[in-house]
Symmetry: C2
Subunit: 576 residues, 2 copies
């Protein structure tokens, strides 16, 4: 491919509205173009990269006996009503009516379609296990798309669904898929992707993992224990707090605290540390706006996903009305209105001499002993694990909080969908059961952007050879020099004939500086420069995009040297 013919513009300037580097690079490098909020078109270089990622995914899915199928993008609402998700999912599920006023949805995931496809096939136990997958466009009507391809509304995703007759069989397959995912990320050039335990609450299953590429710009927080290797996302990481009670519990006492609302103000006023206070966080149930009050130690925060999973329904931060019986800024666990559900975080166990709201405007309690003063409280883990927190695995106070991009996930779904959609099989004894499902997703565009995020410099991406738009970039500097042109032309033809993917820049009217910055933006791992200066020494210059090598082979040896390098780079990304 001649660079001169490549459709798309490349820019020097970083677009002002890009928060993250991969987004800026993909716009600057002619990879994609904004169409609407969270919706992009792709130019050829990105399309080549995503097709290579898809090929890697397909290969690894086929190796674990996946069968490629295709579900529709547009599905009738009835399919989603069967599982109950037509009602339970919020406005990220795009609902619309067709010309006959029949309600439909745009697929954002395909559990329902998968069960629909195999419901009749899977009626006998001998058909199990099996896995079907697709690579298909999906749409999720995100409230806040951002970060270029990191969080979009329209995206291409590989989604896989496995069906089993026992939990053990699912777990075996789940482990195989975990390994396949490791292979995919390693082959795509990001072996550093780690899997972390994740919350699978709303999905209905018990065990799930997210695959995370650690990066400061990631949207997700992950708790990692460097001592024992424990890794979990914030929803899944249990917050463990070991309190020590003061030797003596003081009496509960109401004190006048005028104009004081925040927990910090209260502690300042009462001259107590925040971890000696009991904070109230108030939510409302989405369905009926009833109140849920969570009490937690004053220095900690509530993880809403943990709370949601505990409750089993969706909630939102509360708007506290006058009729509620709650007094914002003065809510405490003692004598609180019965007009709400009260939950206590485990961080309040074994505490005394805390301050808390007095359930009366401008009053707080001091001397709270939670077990003494709230004898029938309902405790669970609702707290966000914090930096330096106790590792739920090894017990050491060593937790680090890192940020990451979720590039894939795997779930043990259980029978949530097969039960609701009435998919059954007969076992060897003729008894009927619901099959057990697993599901496994990877966002193709997000993985491309994540690799770009992990592998780039100020000048552009440093693509791993496995997913680079092209393997080799030839720059014919001073292509108006007949010898340069002839040498570069021959090299282009030779390398292409060898089966190497080459992008060839032979623009005669362009400076070396522009050529090199374009090459940096396209990010091909191997660059070959043919220039009058090199030809004087009868050589070409082979350099790595990541600067890890530079060679000056003789002109006649250049093609074979390039091939050797390409093979070596490919071998580095191969998996056993």
């Amino acid at each position: 491919m001649k660079l001169e013919k490549l459709v798309g513009d490349r820019f020097k300037e970083r677009p002002s509205d890009c928060q993250i580097d991969s987004h800026a690079i993909m716009l600057r490098g002619g990879y994609m173009k904004y169409v609407a909020n969270g919706i992009f078109s792709s130019y050829m270089p990105l399309k080549r990269t995503t097709r290579k990622i898809e090929a890697i995914i397909r290969d690894e899915m086929d190796k674990i006996d996946g069968q490629e199928v295709q579900f529709p993008v547009v599905m009738p609402a009835s399919l989603w009503q069967e599982s109950g998700r037509y009602e339970s999912i919020g406005s990220e599920l795009l609902r619309f009516s067709d010309r006959n006023k029949s309600p439909h949805v745009l697929g954002m995931t395909h559990e329902e379609a998968a069960v629909h496809l195999v419901r009749e096939y899977g009626q006998g136990y001998t058909k199990y296990p099996f896995m079907i997958y697709q690579i298909q466009t999906k749409f999720r009507d995100e409230a806040r798309p951002r970060g270029g391809l990191i969080r979009v509304r329209e995206f291409t995703m590989k989604d896989a669904y496995s069906f089993h007759t026992s939990q053990e069989d699912l777990e075996q397959y789940y482990d195989k898929c975990h390994k396949a995912y490791e292979n995919i990320f390693a082959r795509a050039g990001v072996p550093e992707v780690i899997s972390v335990q994740s919350d699978s609450g709303m999905m209905g299953g018990s065990i799930s993992h997210e695959f995370m590429l650690l990066t400061p710009i990631g949207e997700d927080s992950i708790a990692i224990c460097p001592e024992c290797g424990y890794r979990a996302n914030m929803e899944a990481a249990e917050s463990i707090i070991n309190n020590t009670k003061d030797a003596e519990s003081k009496a509960l006492e109401l004190v006048y605290t005028p104009d004081i609302h925040t927990i910090e103000d209260v502690c300042e006023f009462l001259k107590t540390p925040t971890d000696k206070s009991c904070k109230a966080v108030v939510y409302q149930k989405n369905a009926d706006d009833s109140y849920i009050v969570v009490f937690i130690r004053g220095d900690l925060d509530v993880n809403e996903t943990k709370l949601r999973n505990y409750l089993g329904f969706d909630i939102h931060p509360a708007v506290i009305t006058e009729e509620s019986g709650l007094f914002a800024g003065y809510i405490g666990p003692v004598g609180i209105t019965e007009n709400c559900r009260v939950l206590l975080d485990n961080s309040l166990k074994n505490t005394n001499n805390l301050s808390c709201g007095g359930n009366k405007p401008e009053y707080h309690y001091i001397g709270l002993d939670v077990e003494r003063d709230c004898p029938d409280a309902e405790y669970s883990d609702f707290a966000k694990i914090a930096e330096g927190g106790i590792c739920p695995c090894c017990g050491k106070p060593a937790i680090n909080i890192s940020r990451g991009i979720e590039v894939g996930n795997i779930f043990q779904l259980g029978t949530k969908y097969t039960k609701s959609m009435n998919m059954t099989y007969l076992d060897a004894q003729g008894e009927s059961h619901n099959p057990i499902m697993g599901c496994y997703g990877i966002g193709v565009g997000r993985l491309a952007a994540s690799v770009c995020e992990a592998k780039h410099d100020d000048y552009g991406p440093i693509w791993p050879i496995s997913i680079a738009p092209w393997e080799v970039h030839i720059c014919a500097v001073r292509a108006d020099d007949p010898e340069v042109k002839k040498t570069a032309d021959e090299l282009y033809e030779t390398l292409t004939a060898m089966g190497i993917e080459v992008i060839y820049d032979d623009r005669a009217n362009v400076s070396a500086g522009v050529m090199f910055s374009d090459a940096d933006l396209l990010g091909c791992p191997v660059r070959v420069t043919v220039s009058p200066r090199n030809l004087k020494e009868n050589c070409c210059e082979i350099t790595a995009r990541d600067k890890s090598f530079a060679h000056k082979p003789a002109v006649a040896d250049t093609a074979s040297k390039v091939q050797e390098i390409v093979n070596e780079l490919k071998a580095q990304l191969a998996v056993k």
Copy 2:
């Protein structure tokens, strides 16, 4: 791949609601499953076939310098408002609002998105010509989906868009693309696909072609001249009628024709042949319901697309009200109300002594001489060309009307989209112009179904090797016989190691009859049968799905014989 593990059921019975064979076969053979009206999921065999078709298309598009890109499925309405199509296209364009009440559409074609993607890139004449294409899911909210994959609502399509600075350059590229299409159909196993001139009225260009697979179940009618090779679809084929006037024109006379409404009744009553009558066909303009009356020779029919293109707006068959001034059954060109637009088909030129409506209830005229009695009439070609009609190319009365499925189309679009969307380039003289576009489509699923329609028998499809789900189907008849199993296993491994795609049926509990009918339904071109009977003769049996060959090589020679056959079958489909 073991057949036993293939997800999907195969049936003996033809589903009762299938009108065409390919639809029935694809349901019976476990190729796809109905999800909603015009929406299907695909199982692995169909997915493999469509992926092979896509690979062929991609290869041919790349060869003519196409650059693969990707446009969104979901597009903002604003993009379609730019071209004016948001308003002009009917309810087959699916419109909906996202969570922010912002109007969007589901892409049914991507001219707008293509112009949007390259509008900035294409500002200088040196960038031209270029072509971009995608293979992507599309949605067209068809009123009447039918025929399985022949006319669906959701489909995968390759759509390509080329941009040029001159009509000559477009025409050159158009010819290259025409040749690429011929290659695609030949490589997919249907070299019999023909191109026909087509109407491109509403698309804005002048020249266009449809690629048709001739089959009686086709939805489209095509005029073909066996004398000179002329081929056109009904909209594009000019209807030529050479009338001979009677020596003497009688006087125009109003006659009482009670209770007579149809043209046949009138001719019967007046004892004249239908080609001596003048028929009225009445339409209304969609925009304002104003009336358009087309007069045509009584034995001919109006082609509505010709009429639409002539008018330049959309119309529908009329509902004739009392206020209209028209009298259904008695409408004629003489003395007709001025409350309508009157058009005459060319078939009324050089006629006399015709009958026609009297524009008065229960009266007809006889003795109509159109040129004499309607002196200022507006003539054009509105008639459907008929079997035995005059060829517009060679003039012989030899036209055959055949039916076909449109499997692809190519259009010269002109500047319709670049003008409306304000895409311009500067030429060498610094003058601004709109680029000239071409567009080129192929429906992937429809092509798969069309091949199935063209190549099948009562038992299933006869896939060309290039797009068969697998190349070779091994049937191990009596797989419970250890020697059969061992021989078949080894053959499976050997052929797979040779890079041949094999589906292997080693089900021990299944009769030879079921095995063979399953093999017929999967339609792989080469079948290898390993059975106790063959092994007694120390041979295997290689048969063609299309019965064109049968061999009994020795067991040891079977793999190499299969390879030879596979290579030969592939070579037959290769293009120069």
